[in-house]
Each structure stands twice: as structure tokens, then as C-alpha cells.
Symmetry: C2
Subunit: 354 residues, 2 copies
């Protein structure tokens, strides 16, 4: 982490932020700085309702018979290979998952590679093999590609951009704007594994850990949930910015309040311990194989049943519910019985985590 010191969640920034009209690492955090930049620069220019919906994928009508989910991600994770995965697996799963969060079945993926001069071809081959394996797991085809090379010192080994195209079942309307007061909030499993695994791979933990990234394709889990219930209103995978940031996005989109119970949120002991030492809150640490489900309360048992019968949803649990107000806010009942506001990530916590 060689960037200038930034604000860390809950701490006051000890030094001034860089000039406000330059890009800083915090603009890539997925938190408030990212949202502000996206609003200021991108949404105001690329003015269209699909992009402005603010979901993990755009919902695009192609013709009377066909609605697509389209999503893209550039992957700049450092290091390229980490416990439980690598940039190739991450690129495929990240895009498969974003497409799945509209309830779509991902079918096709494109892959653009920016290679730094000097990258060993064997490393590239390892990562590409891992992409192929992840694509087979997810049942998607990589149908378009591009390779560019930049001079040494103008990249960092390898960046991968993926775009995913999926087919949305007819009649399905899932999105962050659809949560309703009374809905329950389900989390598919423990949070924070991916972020801590990448930090460990950088040697930044200062101690040994056996935490591995949770990076996995969630599309088959989603399809089994959709088979179990037609009242799933929201799906989201809490990546950069973590669970707290994703819940805030949903609360804003739905103009609702989300109230979660701290005691119900699963966190592995090793992740919890690492976060305590590093001063991180696991609610803000990235995941790459977890999802949030918000659904009608009457269907929650059916959904939990479907999730728990799937290898990627065995630890699924209800963590909270949607309420009418305060609109756009996430509140948490803490272990000691109080209630506190849970904000979106501000500044930069873990750069280049995905």
C-alpha cells in the first residue's frame, strides 16, 4: 500500500487528501468517493436509465423476446495469485456474479488483457487456465478477447477486463430498487474472506493465516433460489466496500431503511481476528463469493432451504429486515443492544482488492 495515507473507516484522516481534482486511490474503493466520481463524471454524461438504475448489471431489452443483463469489471488485484484464487478466476466469477444479481443466467463473457512488457508467459498461462476452469464451473463461454501490451512500468503484470452477457427470465424484475418494508435480508455466508486472503498474500498481515478467498461463481446458487421463490426482490454480491456499502446502495435505491443485527452476521474467527489487529471492520471487507438476498418474508424459509442445499449457500442466514424509514439508511443493532448507523465506506481501506 504505497499510496498516501487515506481515511480509514471510523478514523479521522491524519493528513490532507491529495488535490481534489486529481484521481486518488480512494476513487477506486467502491465507497462514497467512487460513487461521487461516477455520479459527477460518468452518469451525468452517459445519461440513460439503464446505467442510472445503479445495479450490478444493466437490464437491456434487445427485442420483444429477449432481455439481457450486461455487466463489466476491470480487475487490477495485487498480487495476481492469492490463496483460493487468482486474477483470472476473480475476473470470470466477478462478472458471472454481477450478471447473476439481476437473476440472469450468464451465457457469454468477453476478456480484454492488458499485459505489461516482461510478464512471464507461464504466469499468463496459469491465469488463463484458471479463467477457463472458472468459466467451465459457471457454464459460460468466453467468446471475445483482446490483448494489448504496455511498456514495463506502465502496468503491473496483468490487468483483465471482463464483460458478461446473461439472459433474464421472462417476467423477472430483480434490482436494488425493489426492496419493500417487511422484506427480510439474507446473507449467503461469512463475510470478509476475500479481502483478508489478498492482504495475507501481500504479506501485510504480519502473521500467518489459513484464510482463503471465497471467489466462486454464484449463478447456479441464484438459479436454484429463483426456482424456489418468485418473490426475490433484490440480489447483490458485496464486493468492494463490503456488506455495509452494498446494503447502503440498496437502501438508497429503494428509499428504504435496512436494519441488521450484528450478532447474526457470520464472520470467521480468523477474519475477525485479522480485522481486529488491522483496525478494519469486516462489514467493509470485500467478498467474491457471497450474496445478499432481500425477499418477501413468506418465502424466506423456501429460499433458505434452497440456499442451504447448495454448496455455496450452506451458511445462509437471515441478518435483518427492510423498514420504511429512515429512508436510505442502514442501521445495526449492536451486540451490546444499542442501534447505530452503518455508513457506506468512505475513503480507501484496501486498494486493488479486485
Amino acid at each position: 500500500m504505497d499510496e498516501a495515507p487515506q481515511s480509514i473507516q471510523g478514523l479521522v484522516c491524519p493528513v490532507p487528501l491529495p488535490h481534489k481534482d486529481q484521481i486518488v486511490m480512494g476513487h477506486g474503493s467502491g465507497g462514497t468517493m467512487s460513487h461521487d466520481l461516477i455520479q459527477r463524471v460518468f452518469l451525468s454524461t452517459f445519461d440513460n436509465s439503464i446505467l442510472s438504475a445503479g445495479n450490478d448489471a444493466g437490464s437491456c431489452l434487445i427485442n420483444a423476446h429477449t432481455r439481457l443483463a450486461i455487466s463489466t469489471d476491470s480487475h487490477v488485484v495485487s498480487p495476481l495469485i492469492f490463496p483460493g484464487g487468482d486474477i483470472g478466476r476473480l475476473a470470470v466469477c466477478g462478472t458471472v456474479n454481477d450478471v447473476s444479481m439481476l437473476g440472469a443466467q450468464p451465457l457469454f463473457i468477453s476478456a480484454g488483457f492488458i499485459l505489461e512488457e516482461g510478464l512471464e508467459v507461464t504466469i499468463l498461462e496459469t491465469i488463463v487456465a484458471s479463467m477457463g476452469q472458472a468459466a467451465r464451473e459457471a457454464g459460460v463461454q468466453i467468446v471475445a478477447g483482446d490483448t494489448k501490451v504496455v511498456q514495463k512500468g506502465k502496468g503491473d503484470g496483468l490487468y483483465i477486463n471482463t464483460c458478461g452477457i446473461g439472459l433474464i427470465r421472462e417476467g423477472l424484475t430483480i434490482g436494488g430498487e425493489h426492496s419493500q418494508a417487511g422484506d427480510l435480508v439474507i446473507l449467503s455466508g461469512p463475510v470478509g474472506d476475500h479481502g483478508i486472503a489478498v492482504l495475507a498474500a501481500r504479506g501485510e498481515l504480519g502473521f500467518e493465516t489459513d484464510i482463503t478467498s471465497d471467489v466462486a461463481p454464484l449463478n447456479s446458487l441464484v438459479q436454484s433460489m429463483l426456482d424456489a421463490s418468485q418473490r426475490i426482490h433484490v440480489l447483490r454480491d458485496p464486493t468492494r466496500g463490503g456488506l455495509a456499502t452494498s446494503l447502503n446502495e440498496i437502501a438508497r435505491q429503494s428509499r428504504a431503511s435496512i436494519v441488521i443485527d450484528e450478532r447474526s452476521i457470520p464472520v470467521r474467527k480468523a477474519v475477525s481476528a485479522a480485522c481486529e489487529i488491522l483496525g478494519f471492520d469486516p462489514l467493509y471487507v470485500a467478498n467474491e463469493g457471497k450474496l445478499i438476498v432481500i425477499a418477501h418474508p413468506d418465502d424466506v424459509q423456501k429460499i433458505l432451504g434452497a440456499m442451504r442445499s447448495h454448496p455455496l449457500g450452506t451458511d445462509a442466514v437471515v441478518i435483518g429486515q427492510v423498514e420504511g424509514s429512515p429512508a436510505g439508511r442502514v442501521l445495526m443493532k449492536t451486540r451490546i443492544g444499542s442501534t447505530r448507523v452503518v455508513d457506506m465506506l468512505s475513503g480507501e481501506m484496501l486498494p486493488r482488492i479486485c
Copy 2:
């Protein structure tokens, strides 16, 4: 151009190439080194017929009613802004054009941004505005986006990846594999403008020039051609590697011979002069607003008529024809009356041109 000396078309490489198991700049040339890397690393792993077809876009059947063209490009051009365009306009047009080369109507684009810490936000705003303008010209919507930030010294200001999704008219089968002996080869206008304009912007010409990039969205030109003829067999935009490399790709895909006439190939005087001084062959210099058409000879006058009534095809001209043998070869009748083989670009001529 701070990379190690490389072979230049027509010259013997003066120093040994870097270790063969590392990525070198030539792997990004779009010529034989790119093709070898793609074959060795990507095609063998992502083994599917859509990708292996080797066209500018993948032809993907979504359901009984819908066939999509999907294409991606990462853009790493240096400098970010050049005469006639910038990386934003290039990203949109490059992807619109690749999708159009299957005869598809491009509808949606995704955009992934890799920003280097320290990039001025005003430069980003300028480029994003230019993307918006190019998208409006092409009639496409930017429906998915992503923003990542890398530390200073791990990027070069801004890289943009775009993926395009287009709808292929029912019954249309256009692709590099479909040229037939007897077909004629049309070029939409003079070659080499983009490459020389970018070189000029780098200050590498050593003299003044008013050449501007030809970067433009070709989809409306393509649609007017498709309205004029149902016997267009191949469309291709000769970008990296230039006209010579694109024709070689088509000759290989179709297992045919393509014979072109040097005197018929339009090159602006200023481009020709710049190439002569630099030792470049304009046939290998990148274009971003030109296309090659290969069609049944009986339809060529209709197609030329449609092209010449369009602002981007006013200089369209027949440059050659397809023959049965020698299969996979491009031959050129030279100005002095001899015939020579025109190979694919080998090594690297102009790095980071798109």
C-alpha cells in the same frame, strides 16, 4: 517508444529479441506475434468455435430469435488525446466497428476504466464527454461501467476497455471465412491516417503535419451497404497491423488468395511522405474508420454506390479480388508491374496505437 529495438517490417532485427518466455511489445502488435500468443495461450484454453472463428466479434446465439455479435477491446493508446480524437472516442468507435463487421447493429456498450492515481479529473471529463459524443453518433447506449484506480507508476493515465453487443439481422452470415474466388475487394478510403496522427501527437515525426485520425463509427455505413446488397461476404476494419494484416487474416480464414493492386490503394500524400521518412509501409499502419468489404462481383457497383453516398465511404474503391490459390496468401501487383507476397505484420511497428 522506450522499448527495446524490435524488427520493423522489411528490416532485419538488429538485436536479439527479449527472452522468448516473457511478454514483449511485439505481442501487442496485432501481427504474427499477437496471433501466435493468442493461439498458444488463449484459443487452446478457451476452446470454443465462436472464439476460434477469428472474426472481429463473436457470433452468439442467445435464443431462437436472437443472434448477437459480441466484441471487446482494451485501449492503451498513447497519448490520450491526438489530432482527430482521443482514447474515449477510439474506445467507442473501435468496439462499434468490430461489432459492425459481422453486419450487426451495435446497441449496447460497456466501459471499464483503469485510472492511474494522479490523473487530472478534467482530462477524464474531457475523454468521457468524447465517449458520450461518439456513442450518440453511433446510436449506442453505454449501459455498464466500472472504475478502478491503480497506484502512480502502475498505469499510464487511463486505460479503457469496452465491450460491444449488437444484434445480427436474421439470415445474415458475414465473416472472414466467407470470401470466395471471384469476389472483389473494396476499401472504404485512404489508409494509415490514424497511425500517423498518433505518431505526430507523440512528437515522433520530426516534422509538422496536419494529418488527423480517421477514428469514426462505421455502423451506419455498414447498414446502408447491407441495404444495398445481400451478397457481402466479409467485412473487416483494418486497425492494428493495418490493411496488409487484415487481408492476410481473411485469406487464411477463407483458405483463399487475395490479389491487390498497389496503384489502386488510396494513401494520402502526407501519410505517404511520413511513411517514407519513417521507413514504414502504409499497408501496415493502423486505421480506425476504414473497412474492407469482400462481395460478389455482380453486387460491387451497388455496394460502391451505397458507400460513396455515405460521408465515411466517399473514397471507396475496388483494390483487388479473391482467387483460389495460393491459399492463405496475399499478393500485390506493384507499381512497376511485378507481383510480390504481402505478409502479415511481424514484430512491432507502432506500439500503443489503439
